[in-house]
Point group: C2
Chain length 301, copies 2
């Protein structure tokens, strides 16, 4: 039974046909060592994206075969700890991201990570807020490149996927074939230039099967909120998907009448961007657990 | 010089040809009494939207002629205090809003406002967070119905437009012809069923002209962030507009090089929804003032 999985064990697409690099049991705690999204190819400001080997981008560590999981199970992954490295990189790229039309010069910059802060261009200090960009399970069928988000998870770039929170996936194949990578030492909602503070790191996680069948996954739980996540080619469709799935959760699982669910979503629900720069755009809808509790509903312990 | 403007003095479209109902000076503090978005037509759960007089929806109190303002001036409106009434209403409407395709029954519900909480359906308690739905100045030309947001402000439904914050507009006509209404005792980002907790109330505000010419307005300042706001027929275009205008602000006003501005927007900027249900959709981009300060930039005092 592995307790740490090396960052040399990577895959580049979530697929039912991937061979597992390790096995683990439900309830065990395992650490994934992860590469940054460039698989370590960018170490200095002289390492430009133009020189990248694009066959080695967005590695996820794994896949891990989680014993006792089968298609249709709802897998909850508790993120016990996320550690990031001593430095992170960011890039600006003409033609890429939400400002690609006006950015003219390719650039790489290296951020130092000092305690709870990142240092940008040796002078601007911002808070460290580690999160996971790519996380998921093999889909039921087909192969999804790690750079793309979807129903299986993948490159959701959701800032809620951070230490102490729980991410829910629907298992697609026996063993789930779970993996994660693409850590960010910090990232803002939107991911405007297609990167956060890209860094290598370590993710300590605990998987469980939870008895909440047909939960609309991907789904996230924090101490304060639950959230549905949806990805689609256009922001508008991603928005509608995240809204529809929260309405489904509130009506089918929490048993709130539809009109009340809609009005409460309008009153205290928060529609939020994850990212608007990947091959599919990702939107989430957050709803406060304090209201679920007033309806007598708790997520599984 | 008026110090309180009655809620009987309303208009339903921002327009250069509106006749002012009051005059005030820059730096003076004035209170607008506001109707709710239904102009008080909904008082009980039996008052359904189907029976509304739609010629009396989205009233804004005003317009107020602010002496000393001329086209092109950047007008800063400081929101000193926002009070809401003792009750609020919400409605569910088939065919309207982001869940209009599945909502089948027209409904009105009345929320009690008790201290710092709203009470929904006599049992669910949520925090009171007053904000202004409709606020703006007359556009340079043309008339914009109060239900529609735009470059002049209007129905932006932005949750940052709340007590203690500052909203910036570009003056379109002499006197600005400022007005506000459509208060919400609480609303979540997105405004899923096209309403927050709709309530009458009072807004105490202080207008100033600030020397920051060609600021991309509408623009909001809170103690923590500055934000650009952009509205467009589709969410995707609203998103791009809010992003482009923050890039413009950071490069032209704060003098951050474009690549750095883009990377910092990706690192610590927050792309957020205002609403996705009005005739135009509204998105904002928030950026932390702590980073502006590290570049030696402060908004005008």
């Amino acid at each position: 039974m592995a307790t740490t999985i090396s960052r040399d064990k990577v895959f580049f697409a979530f697929s039912p046909t991937n061979q597992p690099v390790a096995h683990m049991k439900l309830g065990d705690i395992v650490t994934l060592e992860t590469h940054d999204c460039f698989e370590g190819q960018i170490q200095t400001k002289n390492d430009l994206v133009t020189n990248l080997d694009w066959n080695h981008v967005n590695p996820a560590t794994g896949p891990v075969y989680i014993e006792g999981t089968k298609p249709g199970d709802v897998l909850r992954v508790e993120l016990i700890d996320i550690e990031v490295g001593a430095q992170a990189s960011m890039v600006a790229m003409p033609g890429e991201g939400a400002l690609g039309g006006i950015i003219k010069e390719m650039e790489t910059t290296i951020l130092k990570i000092e305690g709870d802060e990142l240092v940008f261009k040796d002078k601007i200090r911002v808070p460290k807020r580690p999160m996971i960009g790519v996380i998921g399970v093999a889909p039921f069928e087909g192969s999804v490149a790690n750079g793309t988000p979807g129903m299986h998870g993948g490159n959701m770039d959701c800032t809620l996927i951070s230490q102490g929170n729980r991410v829910y996936f629907t298992v697609g194949v026996e063993g789930a074939l779970f993996g994660a990578g693409d850590l960010h030492a910090a990232m803002g909602d939107g991911e405007i230039v297609v990167c956060g503070a890209e860094t290598a790191g370590r993710v300590r996680f605990k998987p469980q099967i939870v008895d909440i069948p047909e939960l609309p996954t991907p789904f996230v739980e924090t101490p304060e909120v639950v959230a549905t996540i949806f990805s689609a080619p256009e922001v508008g469709a991603a928005t509608q998907g995240a809204i529809d799935r929260m309405a489904e959760f509130l009506t089918k699982f929490v048993k709130i009448p539809l009109n009340d669910a809609g009005m409460l979503m309008s009153l205290v629900g928060q529609l939020k961007f994850c990212q608007v720069v990947d091959p599919l755009k990702t939107v989430r809808f957050e709803f406060p657990k304090s209201v679920l509790q007033q309806y007598g509903f708790e997520m599984p312990a």
